[in-house]
């Protein structure tokens, strides 16, 4: 055990002292920030140029219902003869919205036409349809002699109260938080496995190419060396993540205290209906914030954190021992590609299944099955846990994960043991299988 500690220590120090590690640790938050600013900036430029849409309202039914905003600018060309308007629109507008003159307004139901060579965005179509709908509805109401004002007044917007058998109140928006939280953890595990698994592999290859490996394993068991590498590298990784988390949180805190109030105010002042609506939603969110926080507190935080730790350890060790075996089997990184594919596949599968099935139905069959399969469970189960997973499922999944982990480590250490002493040839799958029996 003492030797394992020595190896862990050396691997950790070697990794942490590495220039690329230091640079990556301090540069990547900066790169990340820079990228977000760049994206934000580009998006803001993009918004400045509103899509120009020409409107030809023959019967003057719209009566200013279409309001230009940041995204779209409507220009009324109804004064021109239709052909001229169409010609102008085709030349200098994105498209032409044609509202024909009909005998009855109700005839417009399926006659409003949008002419453009560019396909219209779903949002735009929805907006236009909404405007037309409301005009036609109002017309219908008037035709039936109903008092629109009274009807508007009579309208009620209800809200479904969600609660659990325990009596706790749930919030609807909390689902997004749950999805976000689950994905964050699942994604974090995947990234960590890929990045640090690769580091483990590189470290193994380095010992092989330096030809020090035989000297080391004449002093320690190959298994100890492998585990030492895996643990040492993961500790370096955890340190890196910790630094990022601290930097991230402090930047977030600084940013919100300095700029938070200002941006909120500015968005309010440039009031247009859309922004107002958004602001209203925001203020609604603000009033609900304590509720959200409460709900957040009601999330199985302890379960999430404890299972994150277990799935993190299980998943990372499972995969990084495979990375170590691959490193041992090959002489250089280029040769490793063919063996890496089967490792990355289940990871990607886990993430995709998480994105597509867990979000829709966190307790559906697919999500449940893949949260049991050890190669995907660290990702899929973590995505499910915020939605509340029965404890027995977590336990079964963890038993499967750690059982497989032990089997895989055994299997990997066999390949590792043989591979580290093999030089000069690129092994085939068949040879790897043979090594298991040595």
């Amino acid at each position: 055990m003492n030797k394992l500690l020595l190896i862990v220590q050396r691997e950790f120090i070697a990794k942490v002292r590495n220039k690329s590690f230091i640079v990556m640790t301090f540069l990547s938050p900066l790169i990340f920030l820079g990228m977000s600013f760049l994206i934000g900036y580009l998006a803001s430029i993009n918004k400045d140029e509103a899509t120009k849409i020409a409107v030809y309202d023959q019967g003057n039914v719209l009566k200013g219902s279409l309001k230009s905003n940041k995204e779209t600018a409507y220009t009324d060309l109804s004064a021109l003869p239709f052909n001229v308007a169409k010609d102008t629109a085709s030349k200098s507008y994105e498209g032409l919205l044609f509202v024909p003159k009909t005998a009855s307004v109700q005839d417009l139901k399926e006659k409003v036409e949008y002419i453009s060579d560019e396909s219209a965005s779903a949002e735009f179509i929805f907006d236009i349809e909404e405007v037309v709908d409301s005009i036609l509805t109002q017309d219908n109401l008037q035709a039936n002699n109903l008092d629109i004002a009274k009807i508007e007044k009579a309208k009620v917007e209800s809200s479904l109260k969600l609660s659990k058998y325990s009596g706790d109140v749930s919030l609807k928006g909390i689902n997004e938080i749950k999805i976000g939280l689950g994905f964050l953890f699942g994604y974090l595990i995947m990234m960590f496995i890929i990045i640090y698994g690769n580091f483990v592999m590189r470290s193994v290859i380095e010992e092989k190419t330096n030809r020090i490996i035989e000297i080391v394993i004449s002093s320690v068991k190959p298994f100890q060396l492998m585990m030492g590498k895996i643990i040492g590298n993961s500790l370096a990784g955890i340190l890196q993540f910790a630094i990022w988390a601290i930097v991230g949180i402090s930047i977030f805190l600084v940013a919100t205290t300095f700029f938070g109030a200002e941006t909120a105010a500015s968005s309010m002042s440039k009031a247009n209906p859309e922004a107002m609506k958004l602001a209203a939603q925001n203020s609604g969110f603000m009033t609900k914030l304590p509720l959200y926080l409460n709900e957040f507190r009601n999330l199985p935080i302890a379960t999430i954190i404890i299972s994150f730790i277990f799935y993190f350890i299980g998943g990372y060790f499972l995969y990084s021992s495979l990375y170590a075996a691959i490193g041992a089997a090959v002489d250089n990184e280029t040769d490793s590609q063919q063996f890496l594919l089967p490792i990355i596949m289940p990871l990607m599968l886990g993430v995709y299944i998480g994105f597509f099935t867990v979000a829709n139905d966190p307790h559906g069959n697919i999500a449940t099955i893949f949260s049991m399969i050890p190669f995907t469970s660290p990702i899929v189960m973590l995505m499910r846990i915020p939605f509340g997973v029965p404890v027995w499922q977590i336990i079964v999944s963890l038993i499967l994960l750690f059982g497989t982990f032990i089997a895989v480590v055994w299997f990997a250490s066999k390949i590792y043991r043989v591979g580290i002493l093999m030089y000069g040839k690129k092994p085939t799958w068949k040879e790897l299988y043979k090594w298991l029996k040595y």
Binding site: L6, R10, N18, R211, I215, Y438
Partner: protein, 328 residues
């Protein structure tokens, strides 16, 4: 056979003290078998390495030397057979007793020399303080104390070799196993290392050399074993093996007026061959195989016909024995 000689020596010591017999061999390899899939790398190989000896483990490439050495170093396990080191069955505690310099050797390129040596010494079971003390001794001995904080990649190849050797012997191993020790060493370093090995041996370290370079064996080893195609073919004291392989051939040099007469008389009794030893004043230089005659028979023929200036038994070189056995 030399083998008989060894048993005799053993039975002699057996009478004196029993403990001595056990301690007599630093390493005993008993019927060790190692297979890789269908390929047999070691076929029931047995070896006895006497304590305090320099033991040459010879064999062509692929004979199984490295497989055996890896088993002794507990890098791999034998499929059958057992290894006795220092009187005990091989166990993890033995790691600190063995110093191993593999054929494929190197060090961490981006690690500092001193830290690297400390790390490897600690892996061998030394405490940090002890390792530091020993390192100081060796660094001063090799006059490389200034390299402590240098990274290995800043050193030349020759410099790195010195560090490599220090790493091997730092923990004062009782048994030193050197696989092709001089390959890759420049002549100056090779000599330096050779002297160190001999000094270590004088201080009681047993040494196993694995090599296919015969000159170094001839010069340094007192025991040899030959492994070929997974089997041990020869083992014993160097002189005994040589005695075993001698062909009763003598190299003679004679000053004579009567070359033809002498040649005639010699061919009657002996088998005669060409020779190539260096001499200044011989009229006739020959290699004579005695057959069932004695040296005196040969000498009498020679002295009757001239002045004997050179007379020496042709001792088979390890190289000869090696080639002879391997090509059999």
């Amino acid at each position: 056979m030399g083998f008989i000689f060894v048993t005799k020596a053993l039975s002699l010591t057996l009478i004196t003290t029993k403990k001595y017999v056990i301690m007599n061999n630093i390493l005993e390899v008993k019927n060790v078998v190692k297979q890789y899939g269908d390929y047999t790398a070691l076929n029931a190989v047995s070896l006895n390495v006497p304590e305090g000896s320099i033991y040459g483990l010879l064999g062509p490439n692929g004979a199984g030397k490295t497989s055996l050495i890896r088993i002794i170093n507990q890098i791999t396990l034998p499929d059958a057979g057992e290894i006795i080191l220092n009187g005990e069955k091989l166990n993890p505690n033995h790691i600190s007793m063995i110093g191993y310099m593999p054929e494929e050797r190197g060090l961490y390129k981006s690690m500092k020399v001193g830290e690297q040596c400390l790390y490897l010494a600690q892996l061998k079971g030394m405490s940090k303080q002890e390792a530091k003390k020993q390192l100081k001794y060796w660094f001063e001995k090799f006059e490389i104390s200034t390299w402590w904080d240098k990274k290995l990649q800043e050193l030349s190849k020759g410099m790195a070799q010195k560090v490599q050797f220090i790493v091997t012997v730092l923990h004062n191993p009782k048994l030193l196993i050197l696989d092709e020790p001089f390959s890759g060493f420049d002549p100056v370093n090779a000599n330096l290392i050779k002297d160190e090995i001999i000094e270590l041996n004088k201080n009681g370290t047993s040494i196993i050399f694995s090599t296919h370079r015969m000159e170094s064996v001839e010069e340094m080893c007192d025991y040899i074993a030959l492994i070929h195609k997974s089997n041990k073919l020869i083992e014993g004291k160097l002189e005994d093996v040589k005695r075993e392989y001698r062909t009763n051939t003598f190299q003679v040099g004679v000053m004579t007026q009567n070359i033809e007469g002498l040649m005639y008389q010699l061919t009657q009794k002996f088998t005669i061959g060409q020779t190539d030893f260096k001499s200044l004043n011989d009229d006739l230089k020959l290699e004579v195989q005695l057959g069932n005659h004695t040296t005196n028979d040969l000498l009498s023929v020679l002295t009757q016909n001239g002045q004997v200036t050179h007379f020496a038994e042709k001792i088979p070189s390890v190289n000869d024995i090696f080639i002879q056995t391997v090509s059999k």
